[in-house]
């Protein structure tokens, strides 16, 4: 056997993805994300509590209230302040997201859309007015005509028939409360 240590030649392998490791990583990341969301939610609640204390007792009572209520449960003031900071940041971001564009193109499209909507509304109102007028005219023509007594009888008969139909239908339908 040789005195010299012969170093084994390293075999370079293509790195294979470890499926178990990837799944565990994904699980941990999902958990972290869930935790972050809960922290922000609690941060919002702390902000509300602080505001409520200020309203009820005045300035300077929040820390004492926190020390009495939450510190014994293992939550430090620093942690709470961090959660409140995250909540404030989220609130600011949401209000920033709701900012509306006011550049010339956005304004032009907005104005044109409003004008088009108004035009369409006008058209619909006009259409309704025309139909209403036609209906009123036809009704008054019928009332004045010689055939009105016969038409009246027919109308009453048709309404009676409709009423009977509706009553029968209601009787046939099983009542939901009784069925339950």
């Amino acid at each position: 056997m040789s005195e010299h240590h012969v170093e084994k030649k390293k075999v370079m392998r293509f790195p294979r993805e470890n499926a178990t490791l990837a799944a565990l990583d994904a699980k941990a990341l999902a958990g972290i994300e869930r935790g972050r969301k809960v922290n922000i939610e609690v941060g919002h609640i702390f902000r509300e509590i602080k505001a409520e204390i200020r309203r009820a007792l005045g300035h300077g009572h929040w820390r004492q209230h926190f020390k009495d209520t939450f510190v014994p449960r293992g939550i430090s003031l620093r942690t709470a302040q961090e959660w409140m900071r995250m909540a404030r940041k989220e609130k600011n971001a949401e209000s920033a997201l709701s900012a509306s564009a006011s550049d010339s193109q956005a304004e032009a499209v907005r104005d044109a859309t409003e004008a088009a909507k108004a035009e369409e509304g006008c058209r619909r109102r006009l259409e309704k007015r025309v139909l209403d007028q036609q209906f009123r005219q036809l009704t008054s023509d019928l009332l004045r005509s010689a055939s009105w007594p016969a038409a009246r009888r027919e109308l009453i008969a048709a309404l009676d028939q409709l009423q009977t139909k509706l009553i029968n239908k209601r009787k046939e339908e099983p009542r939901a409360d009784l069925a339950a």
Binding site: D25, A26, L29, A30, I32, E33, R36, K89, E90, A93, E94, A96, L97, S98, A99, S100, A101, S102, D103, Q105, A106, A108, V109, R110, D111, A112, T113, A115, A116, K117, E119, E120, R123, R124, L126, E127
Partner: protein, 263 residues
Amino acid sequence: MRTLLLKADYREAAAKRRGRFPHPLNVAHTIDRDTEVQTSDGRIIAVLLCAVIPSELGKPAYRLWNKVRGVPRNRTMAMGTNSLHTSTNKDGVPSPRSGVHPRVLEVSPARQGILGWKNRDGEMSRLSSEHPEMLSDTKPLIKLVDALYAHHLPAFYALQRAEVKKAPGRLWHTAFSSIYIAKNFRTAYHVDRGNLLGTMTAIMPLGKFTGGELVLPRWRIAFAYKPGDLLFFDPQQLHGNLPFKGKRISAAFYVARQRRGEA
């Protein structure tokens, strides 16, 4: 290339912004160099590559694609307007056809066109039939975009290529079936419904302009891309553009999702 890990997710607040124009205040972070953007669960949602398209490919493409004249009457959300009846018949009754109202089209300089395959039934777009040079003369550019996609996003590329192979039409041997050309189109927040789910869109701006950053409101980020840059991003994410000055064409390379009769 650096990796940007997104922590804050404003999904609900962003969803309310559909059809509204982006405002600079919507953005907390602007990306202007080579970056891979990942969500907190490790999902890649965008990759920005800067100065990867040489001007000798970009400039001829701009000249050719500048001919698009289509009016975006079918893109109500991206136009930042509502779907309204577009005309009335001679009796004054609104036509059943609705879309972007002519009044809105009048005030917008936006024009559009589709190159390649209109859908996955093998139907070629009218623009490609009328101007075949718009595709044939830009073949090297399309091939380069495809190669960059394969290099930087191999997993997405493999999926997209497998899918595009099933379709009757694709742009040569690339992973794309179509190119959407948007000229001077400042879009409001929208999602691209015509794209195959789970694939990326490669978007490339051309022309001479300032502004026009692409904003993803859900993450409060914007991509400040310029001619020569290429952005791969998930088109199912709500996105829109900030205002721009100058002449701008943006070309989006994608795989058409829709077959005839599909929703």
